[in-house]
Symmetry: C2
Subunit: 363 residues, 2 copies
DNA sequence: TTAAACATGTTTATCGTTAAACAGACACGA
DNA sequence: TCGTGTCTGTTTAACGATAAACATGTTTAA
């Protein structure tokens, strides 16, 4: 057994078709339906693809036969003739790059939305940028997919949209391609700044005044976007932001220490808003270590409304992305893009919503 | 169509619509390669699919031309002629049905393994059994996929393999189809019982004697399988099991309460092994509530080595499934199955491994 | 009244590849 | 010497659908 077999181009790995066993239960074809009804195959094709083209009577007869035979059009034949595989490509990330499971949930919604429009989802695993571009190019040129949905979770992923633009491979970004001229891309994103504003407003309503931001290192636009939401909301309430920011990477452990620093100050914050559930859970830990009860003594909010936010104790108030809506818009944009590749790119920015749990219970 | 778009941004300022639509950069075909080399298309086909069929000289010339033109075979045409879409189907679950992210990780590995064999992965979202069977049948009859990889996480999913067997749709199960004659199915599974034995042995080595099992309600075979591992290991060490089992559903909250009951006994267990990280995290909570330090005062182990086990404090000792290996075997079985559908089904049972963290640090 | 437009269905020509059969050159054993 | 493989490449015929053009009868517009 050789698992490292690198398959090059089309290498069907020279398997020889040994057993002549089954008649491979042949599926009905369009011709069979046509014959049964006494019409041409083109008429059957119309019945399925442009029903308006036929008279109600014929349409009914054809559909009846389709139903009786259980006919389904062969996708390969259709793709070949129409030059569209009716599928989109989406990258899978290893678990540690999809902490809250947001990508997995998005993929779920994307698959559902795509299916409603007759599109399939081809998912591929890639470790590195090089591997991804290779897979994308390969897949696209093989006519396995029409287009791609990409994400730009980290600043490392920024070259990808450029690559796709250059190769003229159609794509929609879930998230904004920060750093590129954004109006050149088709994208759907959730307004992170607005999300953090909601978190701050919520805190203020609960009576908090000293609200710190336990954020990410400034990197691509994502970190800045979320931070700016906190900044703006604080400003709009006339609250001070100086010295109220601590930044670090996105992991529980460093977040815990960083939150600890905040809480050990002479006048510690009473609220901590964070750009991710991971960071927020670190903050929760720091509170608990100090005997502070999250929610009563210190308010904490996260981002993504991941499973972690739900199962942690106390439950973590978090900002939920409208993934289903985002996926539907993504597919809509994709269809527009494929229909008229040269038209002006569309963009959609969605508002997330706050999910309140114990970590910000009224004081 | 309005998906509740909060904001729909237009693009930047009016750049002129000058660019004339491209001729849809037509991909090179086999005929072009053939012409360039001065051979027939069949020869090019051989070069890619059965290189041994050609003389080294011709092969070299063809591959050179393929390289120069950047030719890639059109998958739709290939699928049509060879009657194999070279793709497998895999179901996506909503986030709350894939708590540890195990399925997501498995899908990642599966995609990678499939790709090495020239297969793609078509992923679909389904809410219910009915929806799934419908999608499966549709997809299969459309010749979009050759076969499916299914899982049977809960006992609700048991009818699915039966459905597939009846329709003669090729499939491999990840996990065992408990309740069916297992030798009728092709499956790859991880030996949960062996995993729990390892957990118990580890505890015993640390000096624990009263090791409780905080398990799942007896349902399908999964729960019984894991429980039997604990049972067997306890027996082999001559340790008592009576009264040392508490069972409940797979969520943190009930697990916390159940673990609390155990810990509040007159002679509480010093070790608690669990069939999932979710349950184990509940046990961790119960300890912490009682001022017991997990690892020092009470040993706790989970299952799945999910992200949660890593980020929780203290780190949770857990049982890791060899997902990459499992995926590779799955693909291997799939190829065997597709090559000779009538041969005797193969099965693979893999051994998981224990990942030790703070929750079972030496006393 | 007449031509143009519409409605409805058919015919023909591919889409790009591989399966199957065929064909010439060469090797080899009887 | 001849028949019989083997090696290498070609030719022909699909695979199952849709695009494009065509062919009718029927409306509609001028």
């Amino acid at each position: 057994m050789d698992f490292n077999a690198k398959t090059s181009l089309g290498a069907g790995s020279g398997r020889d078709e040994g057993t002549r066993s089954k008649p491979r239960s042949s599926r009905p074809t369009m011709a069979m339906v046509a014959e049964r009804v006494g019409v041409s195959t083109q008429t059957v094709s119309f019945a399925l693809s442009s029903p308006g083209r036929l008279s109600p009577t014929t349409l009914r007869k054809v559909l009846k036969a389709v139903d009786e035979l259980g006919y389904r059009p062969n996708q390969a034949a259709r793709s070949l003739r129409s030059r569209s595989p009716q599928a989109l490509g989406f990258r899978l990330y290893p678990a540690d790059r999809d902490v809250g499971g947001v990508m997995a949930s998005y993929l779920y919604e994307l698959s559902a939305a795509a299916r409603k429009e007759g599109y399939g989802v081809f998912s591929y695993a890639a470790e590195t940028y090089e591997e991804e571009t290779q897979i994308i190019e390969e897949t696209f040129r093989r006519n396995t997919v029409d287009c791609f949905v990409i994400t730009c979770p980290s600043s490392d992923d920024l070259p990808l949209p450029l690559f796709l633009l250059e190769r003229q491979i159609p794509f929609v970004v879930f998230g904004r391609p920060w750093g590129l001229p954004m109006s050149d891309c088709w994208w759907v994103d959730v307004d992170g700044a607005a999300g953090l504003e909601q978190a701050v407003n919520h805190m203020v309503e609960l009576g908090h005044r000293r609200i710190a931001y336990l954020g990410w290192e400034k990197s691509a636009g994502l970190a800045e976007d979320r931070e700016s939401g906190w900044q703006r909301a604080m400003g709009s309430h006339g609250l001070p932001t100086r010295g109220m920011i601590v930044r670090g990477p996105d992991d529980v452990e460093t977040a815990r220490r960083a939150a600890g620093e905040l809480l050990d100050r002479k006048t510690p914050p009473t609220g901590i808003v964070c750009p991710s559930d991971t960071v927020a859970i670190g903050a929760l830990r720091a509170c608990q270590e100090r005997g502070l009860e999250p929610g009563r003594d210190v308010g904490i909010t996260g981002y993504d409304d991941s499973l972690g936010a739900r199962v942690v104790t106390p439950g973590l108030t978090s900002i939920a992305q409208p993934l289903e809506t985002a996926a539907k818009h993504t597919v809509r944009l994709l269809l527009d893009l494929l229909n008229s590749p040269d038209s002006k790119p569309e963009q959609v920015l969605l508002r997330p919503s706050l999910v309140v749990r114990e970590s910000t219970m009224p004081r």
